[in-house]
């Protein structure tokens, strides 16, 4: 009996971690490569959820078919925002925070005004209905699917950064923008695509997470707070650190919720994070690139 609760909670923690990872990955990439703290990230998540809702409601497309479309659409929104606003503020990091925050408000209110503030219903793919049973251990198929997608996303992102020409260019720009430009790398294009990729990941996260929660204009705000915690704990800009921190935070909150309850668990988790950044301000795996 008790071991059943333990293993169920272990999976719950893993599931929470996978959602955190999906949302935090885009945030970590954008911060790590561009030094931009993107406060509009939660709104990209929200836009992903609404794009899925719109495709489902108006075109009758299921979620799985919608995913590539959502990826492209939210990526395009990200690219436009980078070109229009963020690219003009690269030497002014504090202003970027303010500008992306403003963009977030604009996106949120545009959805509220255009679609309305009531919560929308997004159907999850029917093939992932149901649960797997291993004795007392119950695993939701859909949560398993999310776990798979987020691990896949992590792998793809890792390969993109290390095995492709784009990744090489991006890493060069991260190390030294001016010298990279001397070698013919167009830094502004690299930045634009990176921002778009980060936004697109957030869009996918929104699409996948929304059947578990509710689709409202403000949904991104709560989700992104946890994503920021992950990025801070993981070490800003480190993809491995982000994955590790997602796992740690997901499992810690599940275990603390099991021992105490969700509210106390949350408090203890935040206390633990504060202690961690007191003694390890750069996070678990800090970026070790020469500036």
């Amino acid at each position: 009996m008790d071991s059943a609760i333990f293993f169920n909670q272990l999976f719950a923690g893993l599931s929470t971690a996978s959602i955190l990872l999906m949302i935090a990955a885009g945030l970590a990439i954008i911060y790590g490569s561009m030094g931009v703290i993107n406060l509009a990230h939660g709104e990209f998540v929200m836009l992903g959820a609404y794009a899925t809702w719109a495709l489902q409601t108006f075109f009758g497309l299921g979620m799985l078919i919608s995913l590539p479309l959502v990826f492209v659409a939210i990526g395009a929104v990200g690219w436009l925002i980078e070109k229009g606003i963020v690219s003009r503020l690269y030497n002014r990091p504090l202003d970027t925070i303010l500008a992306t925050w403003g963009v977030g408000i604009v996106l949120q209110q545009a959805i509220t005004l255009g679609i309305g503030s009531q919560s929308r219903f997004v159907q999850r793919p029917e093939i992932f209905d149901g649960n797997l049973f291993f004795g007392d251990l119950v695993i939701s198929n859909y949560r398993l699917f999310i776990l798979g997608v987020s691990l896949g996303m992590l792998l793809v992102t890792y390969l993109l950064l290390t095995r492709t020409e784009f990744g090489t260019k991006l890493r060069a720009v991260i190390q030294n923008r001016e010298i990279s430009e001397c070698y013919g790398i167009r830094a502004e294009r690299v930045y634009g695509l990176t921002f778009a990729y980060g936004a697109a990941l957030a869009g996918i996260a929104g699409a996948l997470v929304t059947p578990l929660i509710s689709t409202t204009p403000t949904m991104g705000t709560t989700l992104v707070v946890d994503a920021f915690l992950v990025v801070i704990v993981g070490g800003v800009g480190s993809l491995v650190g982000t994955a590790l921190a997602s796992g740690l935070i997901g499992e810690a909150s599940a275990m603390l919720s099991m021992i105490f309850n969700d509210t106390t668990g949350r408090i203890l988790l935040l206390v633990a994070i504060i202690l961690l950044i007191r003694f390890r301000p750069t996070g678990l795996i800090p970026q070790t690139v020469r500036g």
Binding site: N131, L212, I213, T215, D262, R266
Partner: protein, 432 residues
């Protein structure tokens, strides 16, 4: 109110209005002039510059529902329902021959703004009543304003009770009205082991206090009681705990997005509603629409009103509402109260006849007023709460509720039900 007093209060009121709205500077400045030069000597002139109170003029009433921000999801529907009632009343000639003039403020889901806008409605716009708000936090923010100005706040929402203001007209259910039939019914049908889950604030805790007292009387128990933060959306731990505890009933006071997220995850986890039903006090057609009919199907809610209730008044209400706001718009137990409270206001004003129209006079006249609402005939009691018709319903897959039990009689509101010795009376709170 003495004449001297009248003049003084007006002076202050006009000054505050003056500060509040600069655009009407000229208009107000002339009023201010009138007050300062003639106010103290000839208060009767003041009456002529008070458009609100002039005979035959429109009656200004305030509408204080958030149209933006997090609570707007619900409050927009309350706003819509109130506007519908006002429109219907005006189309039929108004209140005692006077049109209602709704003055709309948007407090943007922020309690401090509620207080500020309520002050504006009461002082600047001279509303004789304000209709507004959904959350207890916003009601409590408005309370000092309406009490200080002796105005009247019509609050349509179910709430936790334990309040007894003489300046609030409570149109929604208090715990005893929702639970005194619901809990015994659940215990008999499904069993006496309840799992209590709610958001972490005053409303769920007060409701659960009442639930535990009722369970205690029935010989049942609350096997687990827990509260999650507002807006919490990951319920895997809670669901694992429910799986382990195997309760007969999950008694749910989660609100809004938390309720939607919980029910979707609970449904996805494969629970059978016939074995482990979720019994909610807060779930209406709005939440069910957002969570999808499938997720809610087979689970229970208790409320005085459901959209599917069969009565001529409800059919007319739903039809008018959908004609105005679209065929996919839903009505629910709070919007129904927001709707009938405007009619209660109308009756109370008409009862006053030729007497001077003031908020306290409307309040005193409203006691005993009975209105045939969509849920049935409701009556305002001495404690300014409303006697209602609680119903127990089970949700269908199509997002509508099937009403299983309808109370035999109106249930009187007892806002201090769980607090022996305290009674809310016509003179305010009495402690034994």
């Amino acid at each position: 109110m003495s004449i001297e007093n009248f003049g003084k209060r007006d002076d202050v009121a006009v000054m505050e209005a003056f500060v509040l709205k600069r655009r009407t500077f000229l208009k107000n400045a002339s009023v201010l002039g009138a007050v300062t030069t003639t106010g103290l000597f000839a208060p009767s002139i003041l009456r002529t510059v008070k458009p609100a109170m002039a005979q035959g003029a429109d009656l200004p009433v305030g509408l204080l529902f958030s149209l933006t921000g997090s609570v707007a999801v619900v409050e927009k529907t309350l706003h819509d329902a109130s506007m519908l009632a006002i429109e219907q009343i005006n189309d039929e000639g108004g209140v005692a021959g006077r049109k209602l003039n709704p003055i709309i403020e948007d407090p943007a889901s922020d309690p401090a703004t509620y207080a500020d806008r309520a002050r504006r409605l009461v002082i600047r716009d001279r509303c004789i009543s304000v209709f507004g708000s959904y959350t207890s936090a916003s009601r409590q923010a408005v309370l000092p304003v309406v009490e200080q100005r002796d105005n009247l706040y019509w609050y349509p929402t179910l709430y936790e009770g334990r309040e007894c203001s003489r300046n609030v007209m409570y149109g929604g259910a208090v715990p005893n009205q929702q639970q005194q039939e619901f809990v015994p019914w659940l215990a008999e049908k499904h069993g006496k082991r309840f799992y209590l889950i709610g958001n972490n604030y005053v409303y769920p805790r007060e409701e659960n206090n009442v639930c535990k007292i009722l369970l205690d009387r029935l010989g049942g128990e609350a096997v687990h009681e827990e509260y999650v933060p507002l807006g919490h959306s990951d319920f895997s731990s809670v669901i694992n705990r429910i799986r382990a505890e195997k309760p007969d009933v999950v008694f749910c006071t989660l609100v809004g997005d938390s309720d939607v997220a919980f029910q979707r995850q609970f449904h996805a986890a494969g629970f059978d509603p016939a074995e482990t039903p979720v019994a909610s006090l807060t779930r209406s057609e709005i939440e069910v629409q957002a969570m999808g009919g499938d997720a809610a199907a087979g689970h229970y809610s208790s409320a005085p009103y459901f959209m599917s209730y069969q009565s001529p008044e409800n059919e007319a209400f739903v039809k008018a509402y959908q004609d105005k706001y679209g065929s996919d718009a839903v009505t629910h137990f709070v919007s129904e109260a927001a709707y009938f409270q405007v009619f209660q206001f109308k009756k109370a004003v008409e009862k006053l006849g030729d007497q001077e129209l003031t908020a306290p006079a409307i309040r005193d006249a409203s006691v005993g007023v009975s209105v045939v609402a969509p849920q049935g005939e409701v009556v305002i009691e001495e404690n300014l709460h409303t006697s209602l018709w609680p119903k127990i319903a089970q949700w269908n897959g199509d997002g509508q509720a099937e009403i299983l039990v309808q109370s035999d009689d109106r249930v009187s509101p007892v806002p201090y039900w769980a607090y022996e010795g305290s009674t809310c009376t016509a003179e305010g709170l009495k402690r034994a």
